[in-house]
């Protein structure tokens, strides 16, 4: 049997905002976890302007490297049809956050573990008005310098390009900054899985 043809991608358009984002979409870390970290950044276009209508999704392993995830990222209230938020216990591994008017997004999560021979990272999928086909990239963490040297992807990139995949530690707040540049100077490395 021949394989079916894939359905083409289209842009998410400008009006996904009342449909796809959900309350607590950036709260991957279960409530109350004291080891939660903030990862945030801006999304920029080729003119360096912030993109206020991008949608960022993150997917990651848990602190043990487990990739099973769990349901309940967008838990619903069957009484009102609204949202309950996550259940406070399960680690779903998934975040979905729209950029704000300044092109900024934020998530709170737990640092993922990696298997031997790889550096830990969070997978990122970028959607936006004007982007006809989503883009994948990765957030790596600056403290994992030894693992970066042997990670198959990072080791294959030159220093300038590699830098676009490594978040910056912000000592004052304990957060990580990861900007995404769709085009131009310091253009983020985007990935192809085919």
């Amino acid at each position: 049997m021949s394989s079916p043809q894939p359905t083409p991608s289209h842009t998410v358009g400008p009006f996904y905002g009342y449909a796809l984002p959900f309350p607590g979409g950036g709260d991957i870390a279960p409530a109350g976890r004291t080891d939660a970290v903030t990862v945030h950044g801006h999304v920029h276009d080729g003119a360096g302007e912030p993109i206020p209508d991008a949608l960022i999704e993150l997917w990651q392993a848990d602190t043990e490297g487990d990739l099973s995830g769990a349901p309940g990222s967008m838990r619903r209230d069957p009484v009102t049809g609204g949202y309950l938020g996550r259940n406070g216990v399960d680690f779903t591994g998934f975040a979905r956050v729209p950029t704000d008017a300044d092109g900024h997004w934020t998530v709170r999560t737990l640092l993922p573990a990696a298997r031997p021979g790889h550096a830990p990272y969070i997978s990122v999928c970028v959607f936006a008005r004007g982007l006809l086909h989503h883009l994948f990239t990765r957030v790596y963490f600056p403290e994992d310098t030894e693992a970066h040297a042997i990670d198959p992807l990072l080791a294959s990139l030159d220093a300038v390009r590699r830098e676009t995949l490594v978040a910056t530690a912000e000592r004052a707040t304990g957060s990580y900054r990861f900007d995404i540049r769709l085009q131009g100077e310091k253009e983020t490395v985007f990935l192809d899985f085919h």
Partner: protein, 256 residues
Amino acid sequence: MPLSQHDIDREVAELRDAYEKSRATGAPAAHHPSRDYAPYRSSVLRHPKQPLVPVQADPETVELHTPVFGSTDVTDIDHDLTRQHHGEPLGERITVSGRLLDSAGRPVRGQLIELWQANAAGRYAHLRDQHPAPLDPNFTGVGRALTGDDGSYTFTTIKPGAYPWRNHENAWRPAHIHFSLFGSAFTQRLVTQMYFPNDPLFAYDPILQSVTDESARQALVAAYDHDLSRSEWSLGYRWDIVLDGPSATWIEEGRR
């Protein structure tokens, strides 16, 4: 001078001709739009200029696993967009049914499908949509469902209207429903749009035409299916969705 439909039509035709020439000389079919597609003006500053970096994925690669969703993530009426308010929405009631498959033709089971759309008058329930068409107090236009064991899904909704946009002078989007899909790997993630058959606006729409391959474009158009229509109630459309991209099982089986 504002960009005219004629200007856009010429650019669309040039890019389609270039694609067909490349096919004639043996280039592979392009199932997806190029991210660099100037007739859709918003793409100009929003696509990378560097080539994508290929990743040698294996079954333990993070992206070959996927977020999962379950019965807590959807309510029982999320698949019926006509029942989310006190009254009935205005418009032509339709059902959209189909199957969610992976690139090997296998059903994607128990996975989340989300959709959103304009109302019958072509207006989104979004503050930034100021198109002078009426909002419908009985229609929001958001639906969710989990696929069945055979990858099947069904939504009940109303047929959305066409609407104007500002890509160029007198630009109109053909009626469409936005879909968001997850597969059995994050690499299979897909956001796309479903169209209705025989829409006269197809030829004028640079977003649909960004898919330069004719048969790939056809895959975005649902089929009217009279067997899905219900007597004195609704019209039925069938649309199957095929996800691209590798999954962990796909790679494991490929290595045998």
